[in-house]
Symmetry: D2
Subunit: 372 residues, 4 copies
């Protein structure tokens, strides 16, 4: 259950303070040109220490690809750069060494169940756990997702599909403008990753205020996938939005998923929410997109839109009562460095999971007809 | 992709107006006593024609179990009733014959893409589709889920786990009381399946009003799983809520999933939302349950709580513009009999999917330690 | 574990003396034209009572396809026959009702462990078993395989791939001629299904002699797949011959699998066994086919050749000592009607499993490159 | 398809001359004590350069476990040694760096299809291949299997199961004695890994003779699994011997698999081959073991016995004609260092695959009954 995907499939491993985080990407199509700098760039978007909004922890997070690629020039003579690689169709193994361990920060937590963390459930399930930095339940685990997602993104780009996410809400401060009115290129222009700059400023202020209280705050990421052909997704249990939902809900701190009109749409009537088909110079398409680009579990060619809710980070810079593994009452006084708000760093992870899900569905859809 | 689950695994088949709907349940543990009447009772909860709130279509929906069970008396001599069966550990095949076909109702729809239905996406994906009653995208497909869920429920009951769902919202009418204050035994006492009788009455009125407008309306189902041991769910991609989310989002018309505090919780601070551990006569447990019974993707022994958003049914008793498979503009004038609101009938389906997911996680958790 | 295949995937169910044997075929490509008579014809090849060489048990074994197909004329106007159907890409559910039960034949076996049958292992594993006719371990289970295989065969034929098997050995009587020297159209001309008519006659005599002794005898089936493109199979754990081996070894009474030179080839030197590549009017191909059409786990365009060993049937028309479920010594005096030799009826089953395996590999291979 | 197993699951990666070979072991039970020296010892059994019988290539092949384990003393205070680790239930990632590359040995082979290698099939399937040392099709890939198998072996030992294999045949020289008459502890006493020392000597002589001819030779490995409880394996497609067969046939150069009496048994009659049940001080068991420890696909408590055929290595120290990727005739003059006979090094690989298969079946069998 540390694997994700059917055809394009990531299997990940690694604890926060172990030797390395890594993974294996199986089923990546052969012949995809990869720019390694773009993989590293995604890791940099995810890494801590980018701004005052995120943890001060520094991690270099350099990925080493161990297999499954060749120098592009070897196979594609016209390649201009030594940084370009090409996939060979064999599994891509990779590792990111852990560094900047402050493992001793966690000594006091060895036997303590931190509130709303996975300490108690892991310990009870397995009878043993790596307490340092959350072990396997640490958000460092998402490094493997971002690497695989960065590769999936490059493959998708070759068939015209783009995945873009941004911070749409922090606490009660929400970006209420329709995404088609936003300039998504502005997302990376601010630390909170919200393309509405006015809202972004308010979000930043809120996060800093919450941080100075030693507290944390939640939020919502919106994601849009454009350029999807009609036909991705499977009709029943593998509905495209069910796969996207599973992908998003598997991210640390995710508490909800909705697509199209989502929860708000339940108050509407069918006559308001149905998307009418027309046929014009763009071919058959819907006039509106209340469906969020998916009908009957299958992409309909419109942009796929969904939202992911993230809870406030459980680690507070406050003292909290709890019990230890013996059931004895104690107090948690965390010394680790943590994010006051997961949202800015969640954006690239949402994109990564979406890219993997869409690429997987794309490849599976290639099996729907028998090809000569 | 017509299979669901890892160990306890349903594979389903069947179109709305084909010969039968059915499925195969693989991985059902041996030795589970099954009361066939309870399976039929769940099917009856799901079937149309139960009240004025649902479609007038009548379907007998009698399930025939074809394999995988034996008379309980053969193996359990003390059994009192011929209706009791026992599972043998081999796959349970079953069918429900389709009847009351008004296939001719659909003749006019043969080449038409109904708005916000799966007609267009299926046709484009497969190049062919069974247009009668939605074919495979019909909600009749959920019959297989309810049968498998009814079996899962009986297995779970044998280890003390109960799954209960109800209609929590229809349109803007919501049941706002905390579930622990509700008498869930009242759920089945009214046609809309809301245990808050006053709210139920308002919901019924709203549905009838919408119906008389030839329109439809959405809503929310809440589900609670009690009696779960600590340890169900897998840490990373197989988080228990990710599996529940995928299960729920695979139900027709589902648009969103949230657990614990869900989307509303994003506005809270960590200090409000953390669940503090205590150790008292009940052992180690949390004082509150903002986490919704799941921490780090693993059940923590508290009730698991989640909500599922359903959109308004796409089939209206109104004329709607659209195009046909040739792209020619046309009009949809549906003659089929349809639900004005999916909620009452969605309740048993949500329970069924939850029961399958939890049983599957329970069985997978039995592999976490090597047993002598 | 009652499922077989990755993309084209059969899930089967049913006990020998239960209500029905059946299955669900998921992942069958859309748009495959199916002749239902050809499916029934394969079932007829498998069914008992075809000749004096097989059991006298009569089974009509009529398959009912319940979903996943439409009348071909609906979608392919030029179709000439009402018997032609076309697949829709949705799962194909099917059942074959059990009939001609002589369940009382098995009353005396309720608590008895028949030698070299699955009685003891099933009972110990599950704590319960359906003793009638072997229950799930009966060879009637292969009905589902033959139905799915007959569909796979028709799909494969549309891309030029043919699967043909025959009885190559019964007891010590072997057909030693190279398969390229045989007229495989003669396979169905005799009851034992051996295309070498002289050898077939000796095999028949041996089977009748063994039968008159109340005994049974084993044998070998050879299978050849022609028309395979280069590229089927996955490099490491999913090597094409590993998948074929798993398929064949899952057939009742199978004891061994080999491809190419197989076990005999171990005594050869590399210089004898290497297949030299040449490039002539047929393009690049090997001069010889010691590899059996597979190199590095991937088909190389040559005919795929393999052999499957079947043990003598365990049910004898002789009295045998054994113990019952209480460990008490007893005697087995079988009254059921059984085959003296499984080989003639194993031929269509080997073909069915091979067809499913090859089609599955064919479809999976369609995901190796990203298609625009 | 670079994954193996259902519960205990290895996903492997890596090319012969890439940066590293490695893998991820998912589903390893928590709480297994691991002696890292035993893992390295298995790798040493597999590595080249052990004797004159194997390639002169030297590889240090030191494994680094990156996750999923903790120091045993941390969790099991009474542990005596710093070398002992304990599994945590999270995935175990590992790598073995490649070294001693003579990549330039392969420069002349960049565009050449070596006879009976995977060069042609890989290139045609993927359109690109890593030609150095066979890339992914190299036997170096088995390093990942040996690491995972060494962990599986230690887990199995904790429940009393032992897996032992040996070289049973090289060319025409076979060890014909029944395995119960052999002292299996002698297997490691000679370079060819045959516990019959007289036969071992003849095998060695044959291999050296073949080597001096610049040729190669095949052989057979026999494997025995003792201590298996009754009940491992799944009845239909997941028969224990089908899983073992798939495992063995996935090893490089494997051409056949048989269990129990295998191919030789087809000439026998049922009355000779049936295993009679008795009940004595050892409980219910069979008097003979023609079945090879598996009946109806499920282990019956007797030793599981099977044999694997390996072809002669395709790389010869002789010049061979072939064609290149353009179809132009050319000649292969290999300069790499290769084994004249794969058998001695195949023994630990067979054991590794058997151990993984049995452990996986053992864990899956823990889901057969619902546990309180």
């Amino acid at each position: 259950m540390n694997s994700f995907g059917n055809i394009f499939r990531l299997t990940s491993f690694g604890e926060s303070h172990g030797a390395a985080i890594g993974g294996v990407i199986d089923g990546c199509p052969a012949g995809i040109t990869l720019d390694l700098d773009l993989i590293q760039a995604e890791l940099d978007r995810r890494k801590p220490g980018q701004s005052r909004l995120t943890t001060a922890r520094h991690e270099s997070d350099c990925v080493e690809l161990l297999s499954g690629i060749l120098d592009a020039e070897a196979s594609i003579p016209e390649s201009e750069s030594g940084k370009l690689k090409v996939t060979t169709g064999t599994p891509i193994g990779f590792i990111v060494r852990n560094a900047d361990h402050h493992s001793s920060d966690y000594d006091s937590l060895r036997d303590v169940f931190r509130p709303s963390h996975a300490d108690y459930t892991y310990f009870t399930k397995y009878g043993i756990r790596d307490h340092r930095g959350g072990g396997r339940s640490s958000a460092r685990e998402t490094i493997a997702r971002v690497v695989a997602g960065a590769i999936a993104k490059q493959a998708l780009r070759q068939v015209g599909i783009e995945v873009r996410a941004w911070t749409a809400q922090v606490g009660e401060i929400a970006c209420s403008r329709d995404w088609t009115k936003l300039d998504l290129d502005l997302t990376e222009s601010n630390a909170v990753r919200c393309p509405d700059l006015q809202v972004a400023k308010q979000m930043e202020e809120l996060i800093l205020r919450v941080k100075s209280d030693g507290d944390t705050i939640g939020g919502v990421v919106t994601c849009v996938v454009t350029g999807c052909p009609v036909g991705l997704g499977e009709p029943v249990f593998g509905k495209l939005h069910a796969q996207l939902g599973a992908a998003m809900l598997s991210i640390n701190a995710a508490k909800g998923f909705e697509y199209g009109e989502g929860f708000d749409g339940v108050a509407q009537r069918g006559s308001q929410q149905n998307d009418i088909f027309v046929n014009d110079s763009d071919g058959i398409h819907t006039l509106t997109n209340h469906s969020g680009g998916i009908q009957g579990g299958i992409s309909n060619g419109q942009p796929i839109t969904f939202r992911v809710a993230f809870k406030p980070v459980a680690t507070l810079l406050q003292s909290q009562p709890t019990v230890d593994i013996h059931g004895t009452p104690t107090t948690v006084n965390p010394k680790g460095r943590h994010d006051p708000c997961v949202l800015p760093r969640a954006v690239p992870i949402v994109e990564a999971m979406a890219a993997m899900t869409i690429l997987d569905a794309y490849l599976l859809n290639q099996t729907v007809r028998l090809q000569q």
